[in-house]
Amino acid sequence: MSDQPKSLFDKVWEKHIVEDESHDRPAVLYIDLHLVHEVTSPQAFSAIEERGLKVRRPDRTFATLDHSTPTLPPNAAGERPYFTADAKNQVETLERNTKNHGVKLFGWGSENRGVVHVMGPEMGLTQPGMTVVCGDSHTSTHGAFGCIAFGIGTSEVGHVLATQCLAQRKPKTMRVTVTGQLQAGVSGKDVALTIINRLGFGGGTGYALEYCGPVIEALDMEGRMTVCNLSIEAGARCGMIAPDQKTIEWLRGRAYVPADYEAAAAEWLKLKSDDGAVFDDEITIDGSVIEPMATWGTTPDQGAAVSKAVPVATNENEAKALKYMHFAGGEARDLAKVDVVFIGSCTNGRMSDLRAAAEIMKGRHIADGVRMLVVPGSEQVRAEAVAEGLDKIFTDAGAEWRLPGCSMCIAMNGDFVQPGQLAVSTSNRNFEGRQGPGARTVLASPATAAASAIAGHITDPRRYIA
């Protein structure tokens, strides 16, 4: 049955099978690229060291520092303002582990350090057709390049360090087609929040998603990364997009791409679902009616167009979410006064995200009482933004311009939202307390977040776009 039409997922999966799965045994899946950060790796290094093992393929393993790292600069003595001694210890543990095992670390002092899912693609480590894993659920980001990319737990980080393989069952596949053409002021983030809203928070559980259709094709690579990044917020470990000429041009010239780039690119362009490929499930979304979105609840699927009123709760779960958020069903979104705005993260911490925010903020100032953090996704993004003068636009507008890191998205480095405060964030999770105990989070695009900072309340960014 080799001429049976195959999906993109099936093609990449089959190419990485070391041993096929049976009823009794999962497949042994080969991993091309293993990305490592300080939070989910210490116990994995300990596990292989307890067996007297070294990292089997340090040439396929790359590490960075992002989650526990302060985004404020070191003091005059060169000491970094770690939030806790444990955070400092965790960073030093990864520095030690990578040194002992010969793993490349893009650490302090590297001009390539960054949030792991920003760093991987921009270094050209992420390449079409690869299997990519990391101890981080937003590893789905790399699917934007036609990779099977998914998050794993620390035990599995140990498995990959020791063997470069994982024991895996093949997931089901779902095709998500977004038709039509996006309206002005609508971004990849709005597309993703719409898809999650349609699928539901657990609607993708057990599936690998493939995004396609004219809206996906029209997105730039960074918008595609945003869409794939949020796959896990619908419960899907993995979401992917077939490579095209945009993928090839985006990766061209990056540090780790193959020397014979044209030959590699020609292979990459063959990676797509065959006509007639069968998926276990399919959904279609009309992209032309998507508007700027903002969440109103405490899971990423609880979102609606910013222009629409907060929905009225239809069940206990929604009522509980509205209560936590201090929102009333039926009220206009712009009634909600904003305390904090956060622009950054592996979801929206890239150049196109910063440009979209800067376009709205240029020549304007954030509202009284709003605190705004702009945190570039990597040192490369930071340098490029500074070269374009974006940092100046943000600081002139009253925002803080920080060093790269996960920062206020996961709020474990000291950057957090105070209890009860309302934050509009370009990050990926609005769970209770995600941005700090008692923090209330509204997820939105960079444009919506920037517009809300200027207005001082949640607002539609299109009012500021000429």
Binding site: E19, H23, T40, E156, T163, T205, G433
Partner: protein, 195 residues
């Protein structure tokens, strides 16, 4: 995880947290993730639901009303364990004393992580779930050999669990060791794919 104690049959009272979409940030908030150990997270399990800001236990939260040694089975709402891939979530639950989690849906990465830590993720039908929620004081029996969840009223539910993970749990097989034994095949793959 290596050298997991084999699991077969056990009986326990249940602890019920009926909320849907209990994410791993609730199970173990991010600020506890700076540890470099797998142990000791049980005291922080459900920290922000469990304690006041000053650290005082909230008297009405389920984990503060039960004896952990008597309640080894956590029943959660739909889509339990969603969100972050942090294995600290099953570490916190097992360190607290739980041996199984039951829900109508359990997130993929949480399921994978739980199976590697001797925490059984059991997906049940809405009918079985309703029976558990209706009698939250009940004692259940989980028989992994028979794939059975037995409720106090005599209802027997056959649950599904991935065959290899089940074998690992029953026999204490260590998954990393199993993969290490595949190294000859892995090396062959690398030669053939110039990987």
């Amino acid at each position: 995880m290596s050298n997991q104690e084999p699991i077969n049959t056990f009986s326990s009272r249940i602890a019920v947290l009926p909320e849907a979409n209990i994410d791993t940030d609730q199970i173990i908030p991010a600020r506890f993730l700076t540890t470099t150990s797998r142990k000791g997270l049980g005291v922080a399990a459900f920290n922000d639901w469990r304690y006041e800001k000053d650290g005082t236990p909230k008297p009405d939260f389920i984990l503060n009303t039960i004896d952990a040694s008597e309640h080894r089975v956590l029943v959660g709402g739909n889509n339990f364990g969603c969100g972050s891939s942090r294995e600290h979530a099953p570490w916190a639950l097992t360190d607290y004393g739980f041996k199984a989690v039951i829900s109508t849906e359990i997130a993929d990465i949480f399921t994978s992580n739980s199976l590697k830590n001797g925490l059984l993720p059991i997906v049940v039908t809405p009918e079985i779930h309703a029976k558990l929620l209706a009698s939250p004081q009940q004692r259940v029996t989980i028989d992994l050999e028979a794939n059975e969840l037995r409720l106090e009223d005599g209802t027997v539910f056959i649950f599904k669990i991935e065959a290899f993970a089940r074998q690992c749990l029953l026999e204490g097989v260590d998954a990393m060791g199993w993969l290490i034994n595949r190294l000859p095949a892995i090396e062959t793959y690398e030669r053939e794919h110039a990987a």
